[in-house]
């Protein structure tokens, strides 16, 4: 794999070199990284890239980005060859040695890195770049088999034995193995709700594995859930805030991947995920306290219905989002506390879990 990456970087550089010597302007073609360049394939269950590409010709106006992209590739080759890694932040600091070509802010270097990743259609880890973000937390009836980094011997981790804490999903999850008797995986948006369920050992009551995403799930988190669900053949239920962000950013990204790195969605998605709540119907049924939708919420919801191939494919979702827009309100997970702090454990979740067929796709 590493040799292949190096070979492809060399090939690209060599092509550019030849073009320059022919007094032509070199060209790089990047897949477009946006929602407009993805399609939803319900059979495969994730976003796939359509053929759209942006052509970056080396001209006066692109010379800076072009130079930065090439230097990023050179850095990647260096990392892969030496079996080293750099976080996004570190790569940003490396660029500070590039004089005029340095990045001023990290988002600039992140974007170039994403371009390089999409260019080679690989996972950025294969280029030697690793994210520094944490991948989510696990609690419940699960034993994870990892390897000791010194001895290489198997290391069994029992996720019931973290007490009031939890197991952290590592950045790389491909080598993990699982042992579990749990019936399903419950994926939770907020750390607060996760804490409550852990505290009351809800995983024991419901015989499940609890996962905290802490906002939009990282690639590692998505990959972990995917591998776990695939390996054990158990369903994945998602419990997020009843607002456009919870629905279209968090749930959608978990289930079908992102529009930004569509070439990787095949691995970083959880097609079997289903939406437990909070649904617009829950807001009505449970008489939940609400807040009005903000302008950004409304825009996000309209965008989902109009431009997102996933939502457009599911009539139930279009109806639900439009219901939310019509109501003009949103409700958080914690809003259930209106009826008592443990109402969520005693009433809401059991009632919902009694009818998984009613979950939104």
């Amino acid at each position: 794999m590493a040799a292949e990456t190096v070979r492809r970087i060399d090939k690209t550089a060599s092509d550019i070199h030849k073009t320059i010597l022919k007094q032509d302007k070199p060209i790089m073609r990047f897949p477009m990284r946006s929602l407009s360049n993805v399609k939803y394939d319900p059979k495969r269950g994730h976003f796939e890239m359509r053929g759209k590409r942006k052509v970056r010709t080396l001209t006066v106006s692109t010379v800076k980005t072009f130079a930065q992209t090439l230097r990023m590739m050179a850095l990647s080759k260096e990392l892969v060859k030496n079996d080293d890694i750099a976080t996004k932040r570190e790569a940003y600091y490396v660029s500070k040695n590039w004089d005029e070509a340095r990045f001023l802010e990290q988002p600039e270097s992140d974007a170039v890195m994403d371009d390089v990743e999409a260019f080679f259609e690989v996972n950025r880890e294969q280029l030697g770049f690793v994210p520094e973000e944490k991948g989510g937390e696990i609690s419940g009836k699960l034993v994870i088999v990892d390897r000791d980094s010194e001895t290489g011997k198997p290391l069994r981790i029992d996720c019931t034995r973290f007490g009031s804490g939890a197991y952290s999903i590592p950045i790389s999850v491909e080598h993990l193995k699982f042992q579990t008797e749990a019936k399903f995986i419950l994926v939770i948006e907020t750390a607060g709700m996760f804490q409550r369920l852990v505290k009351h050992k809800y995983w024991k009551t419901a015989n499940c594995i609890l996962v905290s995403m802490g906002g939009v799930p990282t690639r590692a988190c998505r990959r972990f859930i995917r591998r776990l669900a695939d390996a054990q053949k158990i369903p994945v239920y998602v419990f997020v805030d009843g607002d456009p962000y919870g629905i279209s950013n968090i749930y959608r990204t978990l289930k079908v991947g992102s529009g930004n790195a569509a070439h990787l969605n095949e691995y970083f998605c959880v097609p079997q995920a289903r939406y437990l709540g909070i649904t617009p119907k829950d807001i009505v049924d449970y008489k939940l306290p609400t807040h009005p939708l903000k302008e950004v919420d409304i825009k996000r919801a309209r965008d989902a219905v109009k431009n997102d191939p996933f939502f457009q494919h599911h009539k139930e979702w279009v109806a639900a989002v439009e219901q939310l827009l019509k109501m003009g309100v949103r409700a958080e997970q914690q809003a259930l506390a209106k009826w008592g702090l443990n109402y969520v454990i005693d009433r809401y979740l059991p009632e919902k879990l009694a009818h998984p067929e009613r979950f939104l796709p």
Partner: protein
């Protein structure tokens, strides 16, 4: 007051003292003898046409002279205590005047007295302005005299500081000089001059300026005006000391003698006056520089009270074309003036009178006017009734009349404006435009605009607007001037300048705007602001736009070059990094790396131009 003094006595047939009397135009022959003013062009004397806009026979109504013919019987005013009529709400028991008692105090006011009290009307309202105005009046006269005599002007302007607030001003020209008999009246009598009754482009108009300066000098220092003049190499030079008898508006000669003078011909005016000398905008320094700019044919030497002597050689040895005097155009005439013309005309028939006294009135046009007015074209003009003249007046606009001849207006010219600006202002870009002649209220005029941009001019300030009328810089009352209105009314953002709403534009810019006309319509006697006639505003705008467009395209071109330069440096900054990256990935040699950089730089620079 403004109106009257500028519309004096159109009816005077001969050059003569302008009388201030009420409705007593002309005919005061006792004033006439010997007044063949040296500065007047005798050729025009005979046909001197009515003044520009008239005011008619009605001389300025400065005098209030109602009941002064008979000496009224004195009445003890205080004693007269008639029982007050039972007027409601009116407080009685006040000392009352009678017509007779008032009549005793009613008397003629001399124009000199009037302006002595109202000197601000003539530009003597504060010490700094007084010094400027006095200089200006003398310089105007010198330049006018030189040009009329066909002499290339050479001016020596010297200002000495006598004490902190007192200055000695001396202006010497190489003009034709003034004949001895005329000197006292020209310098010692207000409203005495050669230019008022002639419709011809000149700096001076009313014959007030230099004598008013003298009056101000006399008022503030008690010193007389000192004049030296010589009319030719074989003639003696005369030296005069003159004061003005303000009560009578008559000169008082203190000294009159022949002197030795090394100037072959010319005039020197010297006066002491209270004033204050400042630098910067609206200073005498600015005035002199701008005067030189507007008079490229003049040689100017200026010695200010402080600082260095400033000399300017002439830019051209060619005198401006001699401005022709024209007869008034019917479209500019006012009723009063028309009444006077009908009374004074030499034409025996109405038709003949119209043709003789107006420009652009042909036999056919004269008949059309008469017909439109319902008057027999053969009727005697003098016997026309007032109502008939009014009918005539109303008929004029109905008849199509050719515009007045415009050859009589002499612009400075685009080239000389350009050359002058280049010499005066350190800038990067210069342009100028002379508009074709146009007409307002029957008066032909020409607008000229010049513009200097960039260089050492201050970039963050409002533009420096230099206004000129008949080659005279206008220093004060900028905001009241039609020129300013035209500049602020132009959208300079179109021309890549910044501009606040309703304000002058901001930027490193000097704007030169000149209006030349046989009669510049000033808003006051101090001649500081041009009145805003729509036709004038339009021409000003067109001239400004013409120069503005050229400035805009210059600035846009320059910006393009700057962009290209920026791109160039951009290319040079980033291409080496492509070389470094390729070198790192492909293990290129230094030589190969250098080649990549060189070839790529060349490729990009070559294609950028397409």
């Amino acid at each position: 007051m403004k109106k009257e003094s500028s519309e004096f006595s159109a009816g005077a047939l001969r050059k003569k003292t302008v009388q201030m009397d009420l409705f007593q135009a002309g005919r005061r022959d006792e004033h006439s003898p010997g007044v063949s003013a040296a500065r007047a062009r005798s050729g025009n004397g005979k046909s001197a046409a009515p003044g520009k806009s008239g005011g008619g026979a009605s001389a300025a109504r400065i005098a209030v002279k109602k009941a002064a013919q008979s000496t009224p019987v004195p009445i003890e005013v205080d004693a007269v205590e008639e029982p007050a009529p039972k007027a409601k709400g009116r407080a009685p028991a006040r000392k009352r005047e009678t017509a007779e008692s008032m009549a005793r105090r009613q008397r003629e006011i001399s124009v000199a007295e009037f302006f002595q009290k109202n000197r601000h009307l003539l530009g003597f309202d504060n010490p700094a302005k007084a010094l400027l105005t006095a200089t200006k009046e003398a310089v105007d006269n010198s330049l006018d005299a030189c040009e009329e005599a066909g002499i290339l002007p050479k001016l020596d302007i010297v200002i000495e500081e006598l004490s902190e607030d007192r200055f000695r001003l001396s202006i010497t020209d190489n003009g034709p000089g003034i004949v001895r008999a005329q000197i006292p009246k020209i310098f010692g009598k207000l409203l005495y001059g050669s230019k008022f009754h002639v419709l011809r482009q000149s700096r001076g108009q009313q014959g007030i300026g230099i004598s008013a300066a003298g009056m101000y000098s006399q008022l503030t220092t008690g010193q007389p005006l000192r004049i030296t003049s010589r009319t030719g190499a074989r003639k003696p030079a005369h030296f005069f000391e003159i004061q003005i008898d303000t009560a009578r508006n008559e000169p008082k000669v203190l000294t009159d003698r022949e002197v030795e003078w090394d100037v072959e011909h010319g005039t020197r005016v010297e006066m002491d006056l209270a004033g204050s000398y400042k630098k910067g905008r609206r200073s005498v320094d600015d005035y002199v520089v701008q005067t030189a700019l507007a008079n490229p044919h003049a040689e100017v030497h200026y010695r200010p009270p402080k600082g260095e002597v400033w000399d300017r050689e002439r830019l051209t040895a060619q005198l401006p074309r001699e401005p022709q005097a024209i007869r008034p155009h019917p479209h500019g005439v006012e009723l009063g003036a028309l009444i006077a013309m009908m009374r004074e005309t030499r034409g025996r028939t109405l038709k003949g009178a119209l043709q003789a006294d107006f420009s652009r009135v042909s036999d056919k046009v004269a008949e059309e006017i008469s017909k439109a007015a319902g008057i027999n074209p053969e009727s005697r003009p003098r016997s026309l009734k007032l109502a008939q003249v009014e009918a005539l007046f109303r008929a004029i606009p109905k008849v199509k009349i050719m515009n007045p001849p415009t050859s009589c207006v002499v612009p400075i010219g685009e080239e000389l404006i350009l050359e002058g600006l280049k010499q005066t202002v350190k800038a990067d870009f210069f342009t100028s435009a002379t508009r074709p002649p146009s007409v307002y209220r029957g008066n032909p005029f020409v607008v000229e605009v010049g513009l200097a941009y960039g260089g050492e001019l201050p970039a963050e300030e409002l533009v420096d607007l230099w206004r000129f009328a008949n080659r005279v810089p206008l220093q004060y009352q900028q905001s009241a001037c039609a020129i300013t209105r035209a500049v602020t009314g132009t959208d300079w953002k179109h021309y890549a300048l910044q501009q606040g709403k309703g304000a002058l534009p901001t930027g490193p810019l000097v704007l030169f705007v000149h209006m030349a006309s046989v009669w510049v319509p000033f808003t006051s006697e101090s001649k500081e602001a041009v009145a805003a006639y729509p036709e004038i505003l339009k021409e000003l705008r067109l001239g400004l736009q013409e120069c503005g467009r050229r400035l805009g395209s210059f600035l846009r071109h320059r910006r393009r070059l700057e962009d290209a330069e920026k791109k160039n440096s951009y290319i040079r900054a980033y291409i080496p990094h492509i070389g470094i990256a390729l070198k790192e990935i492909l293990h290129l040699s230094d030589k190969e790396e250098a080649k990549v950089v060189a070839v790529l730089t060349d490729t990009l620079e070559r294609t950028r131009k397409i």
